[in-house]
Amino acid sequence: MTTRRTFLVVGLAGGAALAAAYWLRAKRERGPVSAANAALAELDPEAPGILAAIIPVFLNGALPADPVDRAAAVAETVGSIARAVSGLPPSVQKELGELFSLLSLAPTRIAVARVASPWAEAGPDAIAAFLERWRTSRWRLLHSAYDALHQLVLAAWYGNPRAWAAIGYEGPPAHVS
């Protein structure tokens, strides 16, 4: 049984890992980033790539089947998340930066997210297992991190008119706008 004490210890260690990962983020090289994703890359240079890996699993069953449309839909979702992030308060952007740094640095990716390979190489099953662990985690930090990804990804996709036909939503009434 997990006692409150072990819960607290895990929580503190997790907080320290987040902070360390975020600090180390600043030490790493920045690759080229598209202007659209700049706000995300500002959080962590790997954030757009991590999302591009996670999005198809979150949206399994919702994305278009055609590979070209599917790739475009994923790219648009990453772009929408970047726009959303740029409008969030600095305190929330910092928390998201800590999350993406934890996911991008190999030691914390392996130890805390328990994803063995780099995100671009991780298969859908490994990513789904990661989401499931965090979604059901007793550790509030991980559960709330899952919630943050849930909200960012699903809001970004379903705010996109491209998503609407499949869910029977015709968009706002045309005679007003």
């Binding site: 949206l59 740029s86 909200q151 699903l154 379903y158 869910i167 706002p172 009434p173």
Partner: protein
Amino acid sequence: MTDPMKPGLPDPFRAGIAGGWTVVDASALERDLVLEADVAIVGTGAGGGTAAEILAQAGLRVILVEEGPLRTSRDFRMLEAEAYPDLYQESAARRTRDKAITIMQGRCVGGGTTVNWTSSFRTPGATLAYWARVYGLDGFSADALAPYFARMEAKLSIAPWEMAPNANNETLARGAAKIGIPAAAIRRNVKACWNLGYCGMGCPTNAKQSMLVTTLPAALERGATLVTRARAQAFGIERDRVGTLTCAAMDALGVHPTPRTITVRARAFVASGGAIGTPALLLRSRVPDPHGVIGKRTFLHPVVVSVARMPERVAAFAGAPQTVYSDHFLDTLPPDGPIGFKLEAPPIHPILGAITVPNYGAQHAQWMRELPNLQVVIALMRDGFHPDSPGGTVALRDDGTPVLDYPLTPYVWEGARRAFRAMAEIQFAAGATRVMPVHGDGAGYARWSDARSAIDGFALAPLSTPVVSAHVMGGCPLGDDPKGAVVDTAGRCHHLANLYVFDGSLFPTSIGANPQLSIYGIVAKLADGLATTLSAGMAGARRA
């Protein structure tokens, strides 16, 4: 003036600006601004808007400071992806410190009234009777407030909604009738409403009688000044008075302050920044607080959600969003008994639906494909009346921005379980083929008996049971006793002679109903008093 994008639809606010209203966008300031007035009001929502009109009509010079942007009907394109980041605090994703409760609050000219769903209730009699009995607020009885409610109802065209409810609301009414509990029609603050269903993204036709089309234009017409994209940082306290208000100009997205400041000198200052913003402003200003009451007892009407799949098309994204309610589970319990809840139906647009449905992948996609057939009921719990419901506490982050701590107690979870049961029973009675109480992995149940046993076994807890709130109240309660109240029964701070609080943070408990009309009525009463006080001061000054 009509918008070329919407031929035939007037935009009276833009027309007013073209006609000479004084409106300053602080994000575009090139130098610091110093302004002087009789009254400075922080916030332009239900409290600030109501106060601004009353004070301006009394002949006082009014300055309004708003953190959010000015957006008017021509900007309201009924798109969630635009509206949430633009019109809401923290992109409609503000959360309590432990992330367990999502809070939807307006942040734009008109505040919450620009984005609310128009539900209009007078403060329930049971709530006012409790305030009189426990907090000695005898001047706020239903009878004493009746003329103020009547005045604001007339001003804002608050009336019964005569059109048929949309299927989402009709299903709530039908299910309630089937299980033998009363449901009734909600009154709405609309005029010539098109019944579109996009109230939460700003009304594109100006039918909603928000502050944006009523009190704020009236105040601006009387010469008030409105400064937008200006975040009130702190009052400058000079002995027992406030001398100045310092504001930071915000950038065009409203995320970072620019180097520009706005300083307002005034005879009186009114905090109407809502029940998170107002206590935070008082805390940043180090308003004297010898009994540590500022920001305590903040209430949320914590909401749990039940999603049903109906055999017929519901289209909960279309039609007036909230038109039916049931108070059965409030009226059958004393306010200080087990927590009661109000039942209502919310609109379901793609983003709101997608972030509400738990889980991901195929299961999530399946619920979303059924969006047109989804019906949703929400239970708003009446917090703050029982010793086990002390509410939350507003505190400041290192950067001075507010964060709310709101522990969800066993008292609240017991009510959440009853609410899940009641909502599922109503939805099955109305013919639902599947009901998902929003909890855990978002499993759906095909039979009422299965749903009931599942709900009885739920491990209700923060994060695994999503809780939302659109009603933040309390934190600067009014009352005669400074040990428990921040302001006196005139709304004036107990410790500073010219600082007033006029918004939902005045309430000593939650309301037990959508709070906009409670704010309008109570602020109208307090603003009348302030207008009299300040006008007498001016007359005195003229005599001297």
